[in-house]
């Protein structure tokens, strides 16, 4: 182990199965206690803890050879996890590899759902927490700031986040290709099952107008409508009131179709200029397949949506080479600046970054003291 330097230690979905990750995940209470202990580790100059459902990672700057071992020991003790067992699932990288890993994580290309953007917020939160508690210094401030810039660059200049990879979000994307902005759209959810609920939530999260739930059990429709802040419709009225809606999500467990071709024809007669979009997530199918032949009517079933989701995933996969290359260039450039300094000068003691956002922190970090100025990388 290098006497000092930037490191990451932990476990991720790549190195540990779900059952192990469950045991490694930090509770809020343990997280707080562990941070207090890590602050006292001799030689650990800066550190950040990234704790998500798919990874527990400690990023830090070690000033002596035992600092990383002490981090591992403290973590295992708090989690009551055998160090020997932990080493089977351990991710441990140093220097350039650790920086490259952080850039990959922040960009979402190390995520289980490739290209997801939630991780970016989680990394930012982890950094902000460490910063607020005074656990970061010039090196982490710089490295994390660069990681955020790299993640934004990759998102903008590649298609890594293009096209959704979940069925519910693909359905919402399709609705946008038909209706544009969704705030004026009216959605009818047929069935109160889990997949329908997820799709309805995806629509709501993307600004859909109104949502109405119709289920064969009216009380279940009322219950879900309350949860989703929607309205409920008696199931038997679904066909006669079809023209009032723009998007119909079918997710019942009915043995046959619940929306007939004749009903859709009648609805389109009443609203010929406005398209009607059917998302059939049910098996057996809820919507008569012949409606796809009607003008201005679009029907997508579960297979269609899954196929598009898979195509999007494949497209993201094909972008990873480009992303890794872009990120690697940035990681190397960063390492060229901080690597020699970490080894030749060592780093200063932990200095709390004075600002809450990474850019401001970095700017401030560069100008606090001569030491931090010397450590900063331009």
């Amino acid at each position: 182990m290098s006497p000092d330097g930037f490191f990451v230690i932990g476990a991720t979905h790549h190195t540990a199965p779900l059952a192990v990750r469950e045991r490694l995940s930090l509770s809020d209470e343990v997280d707080r206690a562990l941070r207090l202990e890590l602050k006292r580790v001799e030689g650990l100059r800066e550190f950040t803890v990234l704790n998500t459902c798919n990874r527990i990672e400690f990023y830090g700057v070690a000033g002596n050879s035992s600092a990383v071992e002490q981090v591992q020991a403290a973590f295992c003790t708090h989690q009551r996890f055998s160090p020997t067992e932990f080493e089977q699932f351990r991710l441990h990288l140093q220097g350039l590899d650790a920086i490259r890993h952080l850039l990959n994580v922040a960009s979402g290309i190390d995520s289980q759902m490739l290209g997801e953007t939630e991780i970016f917020g989680q990394v930012k939160d982890a950094y902000a927490t460490a910063q607020a508690q005074g656990h970061t210094g010039p090196v982490l401030n710089r490295v994390f700031q660069k990681a955020f810039q790299a993640a934004k660059h990759v998102r903008t200049h590649t298609a890594i986040t293009g096209g959704h990879v979940s069925v519910a979000n693909v359905a919402v994307d399709l609705a946008q290709t038909i209706f544009g902005a969704l705030k004026e759209t009216r959605i009818l959810l047929l069935g109160a099952g889990e997949i329908g609920e997820k799709t309805a939530k995806a629509f709501q999260s993307r600004g859909a107008g109104s949502l109405t739930v119709a289920s064969r059990r009216f009380e279940r429709a009322m219950e879900l409508a309350t949860t989703l802040k929607a309205s409920a419709l008696p199931f038997e009225q679904r066909e006669e009131r079809l023209a009032e809606f723009d998007i119909i999500v079918g997710s019942t467990s009915a043995p046959g179709t619940v929306v007939s071709n004749a009903a859709v024809q009648a609805a389109m007669h009443r609203r010929p200029a406005r398209p009607l979009f059917f998302i059939d997530l049910a098996l057996p199918r809820d919507i008569d397949a012949r409606v796809a032949e009607l003008q201005n009517v679009f029907l997508y079933n579960l297979d269609d949506l899954a196929k598009i989701a898979e195509e999007n995933r494949a497209a993201r996969e094909s972008e990873t080479v480009k992303c890794r290359s872009l990120l690697s260039e940035r990681a190397e450039a960063l390492w060229r600046h901080i690597g020699p300094r970490l080894h030749s000068e060592g780093t200063s003691t932990v200095e709390p970054a004075p600002a809450s956002n990474p850019e401001a922190a970095d700017r401030a970090g560069r100008s606090i003291t001569p030491v931090s100025r010397a450590d900063s990388i331009h």
């Binding site: 200029a273 003008q295 999007n312």
Partner: protein, 283 residues
């Protein structure tokens, strides 16, 4: 001449910009990349300014709106379409309308420049020195520019319907605007075109009623037929009888017919006094 260049030189430069827009857009589409809207609009704007200068230079020499031969008519139609695009098209989130507009402008301008016969002769004094007739003619051609832009949005609507019906939404189909957006802009363009053409025909009718022999019958019939066809399409669309793909195909077919009609309209102009076009580079 303007700034040391002939009108045709300015129009060649403009066509070069439109061609650059076409090439860059095609490369971006083939690579599956989203084209920069700023770049597309910048190229179109530069082309537009050069074309404006070229048409202005030509107009100054001929002493009126340059609509004296097929070359000038194609140039003016392309200029009209771009004018309208710069007003309404730039608000589109997608850069694809800009790409299609630069394609259309490149085709119209390069075709007119590449056929020397279209600009070998021009009718002089076609408006008899009457600015109102000149306004009538320029309004009519401006409406053709609007219909050209309508044809582009209709083409995009056809492609969007095709992609959704065949469930191919990736690749460059993903750059197309939504069906509702395309439908709304198409209806607005159709309304605008019909209003402009109606105003143009109303203006022309005043002079025709005063002197029926001043307007060629073929020109009158063709122009009224084009106007009627577009007005009928608008009526059917507003009444909900001509929708979605059929509406889009109708707009495309009507524009094709309108372009073809320009030939007989131009040939039947009165009086057919032939003259050498100004500033024509020797061919």
């Amino acid at each position: 001449m303007f700034a040391g260049l002939t009108d045709r030189s300015w129009l060649w430069i403009a066509a070069g910009f439109y061609l650059a827009g076409l090439i860059l857009g095609t490369v971006a589409l083939l690579r599956g990349e989203r084209q920069s809207k700023t770049l597309v609009n910048g190229i179109i704007l530069f082309g537009y300014v050069c074309q404006l200068v070229g048409l202005y230079a030509r107009g100054r020499v001929v002493g009126g709106c340059p609509l004296g031969n097929s070359f000038e008519i194609f140039q003016f139609t392309a200029w009209s379409a771009i004018s309208l695009y710069l007003v309404v098209g730039v608000t589109f989130r997608s850069s694809l309308l800009g790409y299609f507009t630069s394609c259309l402008a490149a085709v119209l301008t390069l075709t007119s420049l590449a056929i020397p016969a279209w600009d070998a002769t021009r009718r002089s004094k076609i408006f008899g020195g009457n600015p109102w007739i000149e306004l009538h003619a320029s309004l009519a051609l401006f409406s053709y520019g609007v219909f050209a832009l309508l044809a582009l949005t209709a083409l995009m609507l056809v492609l969007r319907h095709y992609s959704l019906k065949t469930k191919q939404i990736g690749g460059w189909f993903s750059f197309l605007p939504s069906i509702l957006d395309l439908d709304q802009i198409s209806v607005r363009l159709l309304c605008t075109g019909v209003i402009l053409m109606t105003a143009s025909l109303a203006g022309g009718a005043v002079y025709w009623l005063r002197d029926p022999s001043s307007v060629n019958v073929l020109k009158l019939l063709v122009t009224v037929a084009v106007w009627l066809a577009y007005a009928l399409a608008l009526t059917l669309r507003l009444r909900g009888h001509l929708l979605a793909k059929r509406f889009a195909w109708t707009c495309l077919a009507l524009f094709g017919a309108a372009l073809i009609s320009l030939g007989p309209v131009d040939a039947s102009r009165h009086p057919p006094v032939l003259a050498q076009p100004p500033n024509v580079v020797p061919r």
